[in-house]
Amino acid sequence: MDKTCLQDHIGKIRAALCDKDPCVMCATLPLFQAMIQDDVSAFKDLVPSFVSILKQITDHRLPKDYDYHRIPSPWIQMNLLRLLALLGKNDQASSEGMYEVLVDVMKRADTGINIGYAIVYEVVKTVTTIYPNAVLLDAAATSISRFIRSDSHNLKYIGIKGLASIVKDYPKYAADHQMAVIDCLEDRDETLKRKTLDLLFRMTNAVNVEFIVEKLLSFLATATDDHFRTDLVGQITQCAERFAPSNAWYVQTIIRVFELAGDKVKSSVAQTLTQLIAEGSEIEAEEDGEGLSSDDELRTEAVENFLDLMVRPKLPEILAQAVAWVLGEYGFLSTSCSLEQIMDKLCQLTLQCNDPLTRAHVVTAISKLVAQNGGCPAKVLAFMDRYSRSVNLDVQQRCLEFKALLKHPNTLVEVLPVDASCEDIEIDEGLSFLQGYVQSALNLGAKPYTPPQHDDDEDADEGHSAKLKITPYAVPTLPAAQTNNMVAMAGLPGAAFVAPAGVNNALGASPLVALGAQSIATSQGNNLIGAAKGANAVWGRKPEPAPVLAPTPASPMPVQQASSVLNSPAAGPYGSAAHGSSPYGNHTVAPSAAPAQPQGPPAPRELSEKEKQAAALFGGLGAGAAGAGRAAKPVQRRTVGPRGSVTAAQEPAVQNAAAAHTQDDLLAPHVESVPAVPVSSLLEMDLLDAHLPAPAPAPVPAAVYTPVAVPPAMPVAPAPAPAPAPMSAMNNISSAFADLLEPNQATSSAPPVAEPTANVKPLVIVTAEFGKRWGSTPFDVKLSIPVMNLSTLEQLRRAVPATYHHVESIPASLEAIFAATMTSTGSIILLHVKLQPGRRAVDIVVKSNAKEICEREGAFLAAALTSFQG
């Protein structure tokens, strides 16, 4: 089953699990098995569902038709048990949810019939796979012992299987059944014997290894089935390697394995063997000892064994190679054969073997023996002559080397020292021994060596242009940005199929997004909902690195989707965004459009310690509630946001088309800051504006903001609590007008730039309020201001003009927030500053209801900060 096909339909499959027709539910279980085997963590949340389904089944809630011999739907029960085993493996929390139902199933299944036993066995398997629970394990062990002691062969078989699965982790349960197991081993039934062997293999430890390996070898001697033999060989070698009581025993065992089934032995085993013989055991290496040390004994024995082996007509290749090597190294130890006789035997060995590698080994071995012998017998010479014309180059080379070395017997001995296979060869990299040769050549007039020139580097430099560009592309225009954000978003919800597209098929991707159905995607285009993640509900809605980063890496985004899909979805865009240019260099036109990104890790990371503040501050409002609170406002975009990723897909289209309209919408909830006054009075306000003395900041209760700019005569602002729905209509109008009017006010009431702050008064609010406002103000300006004299947060505070009220600063991240208000319009100005000591700059974000205000204040602040002294 191709698992990638299932990705599209995970949602539907999950829904089908809860279908009221049991057939549909049953049909989904194999699919879940396939998916869970691939990725366990994605489905951990299904444990309660499976447990409840299993419970219902065992409670006989299914129609009677599903019963099989009065047991309800046994194969479905077993499927569910398997799923639970997969999910509960190594996971205590999930496993604990299952214990009860497992006990239940086991009890009810324990009828006298085979199918009941099958279910019990399945429970046993599950119990041994998931996080252990003593009660269940005991129950499992009891059932197993009943199976093993029963008369039916099938039950014995199942019992042995169950025992094998238990004994691996809980060996003590095996002890009770030794006799029964031995009986099974002796049984006539081949299958049972094999299963018992398997059990023995799993039970091997240092104590019983010899017995068990003996048994395995005896089976190997008689077995004919290839698969079986391969399995046995693997098992024997594993046991031997792990639990060998002594080197000698190990060598003997391996030799026996070679004899019986050499063709099935992996070459790595031969390697280990020869290594063992060569190195011996470390403890005994230093023994001077009387006579031979045990190492030598080992080697002598090995040599003798091999010599006997060579008598056989047909040796497996691997074995022949091992034999040749060992004899070459340690042949001198042999007391039964002289070196010449060994060499004879080796020559004969080559006649039988077909593999050139073996011949090469033999040639080398003979060379070593000749070195030790001191003289070269005629037979060997003839042998070498014959193979020096071998087709195989390796063999030929070795023979020729040998013949060359023969002319220099001293060198031969040096080159092939005795028992030095473990010593490193020293290499003189400077080849100093050739210095004499070089000198003589130079004397004769040869040109000295000139190393290659560096002009090759130029070529290398030219080659640079062929390298991959990792600098991001320029910021794309807005519509493209949004569609790219779409793609970014689509890339997130595990949409591996989007990555290969690498194409900006934003809208095409939307159905995929819909199926992805992750809330991450929904945060696109929506500060507020994105901030529904508690991590970001710090200063209200201020995930500013997030939104701005979205447009910048738009183009690299498709390329990086593959990597972003692989990374955690939230981190993805950030990973790519890291390449983006400084977020503060850009303007975002419609901040609601910009934040296509999920409010991913980087933003909350730097704000994470403040989560607690936010939680405390927001009190009753949970993270979701905070977002939902906003969502309750009469902006349908937002209400749809948290749930429908489909609608998130539609949002960019909406934003694209209705950028202007959304501004109005945004203003609607924001109207809290503007009093619900009739339009006329608003106009009046303008006229009155210039004459009004600068009102002192009205006392502001904790979470209530009364517009400072409004003369007390005006009706009091509506409560800033969420959901000013009843006033929405009015607010819309007034806000619309406010929109229109604001530019006028801005130009009329604002004095020339020299004194931009005449109508800007500090706005005394608290962080919570700031947070709320932040999300609702539509316009912002981000600037990065290089500063020379600002290096501490304290200085920064002083640098910001006094027309801003300092709301809060966070020393840890060198940030601070300020608030002010326009006296004329009552529109608020929110300021966030962050000191960047590394770049010697300050990043500021100015948010307000009007673009002009933002820009003006931004410019003013820039001037103020750069000119700040000390």
Partner: protein, 152 residues
Amino acid sequence: MIKFVLMVNKQGQTRLASYFQWYPIQERVALEAEIIRRCLSRTEFQCSFIEYRGFKVVYRRYASLFFVVAVDGEEENELAILEFIHSLVETMDKYFESVCELDIMFHIEKAHYIVDEMVVNGSIVENNKVNILKPLALMDKLASAEGGIFSR
């Protein structure tokens, strides 16, 4: 995963073969011959499970017919498969009313329908006899209806 379901008689003639994993034709023929040989050589007092070429064969003899199901993987519950064979026989019994080898021979397509309803892509999905036999009942009704295109 169930690899295949076979119904083979004692003479080695395959009456029904439903493969869920593809094997070439020659391999299938060889496979079936070998398996039935093994099954025939076993006595009643031995396990109903054989290990063959890396997968497990579960068999049961009903009168003259051997029902053979091969499963792979260490994970499979052989006893469950044995009972599945029995449940398959019971279902066929319900439909054919006291099923015998001839029924399977002469209504091979019905037997295939039953197996296909119960096993999908190697996994057992259904054991409710009513559900399994529903499509067959519908087909029978259509076939026996007068004037329809399926009428005889």
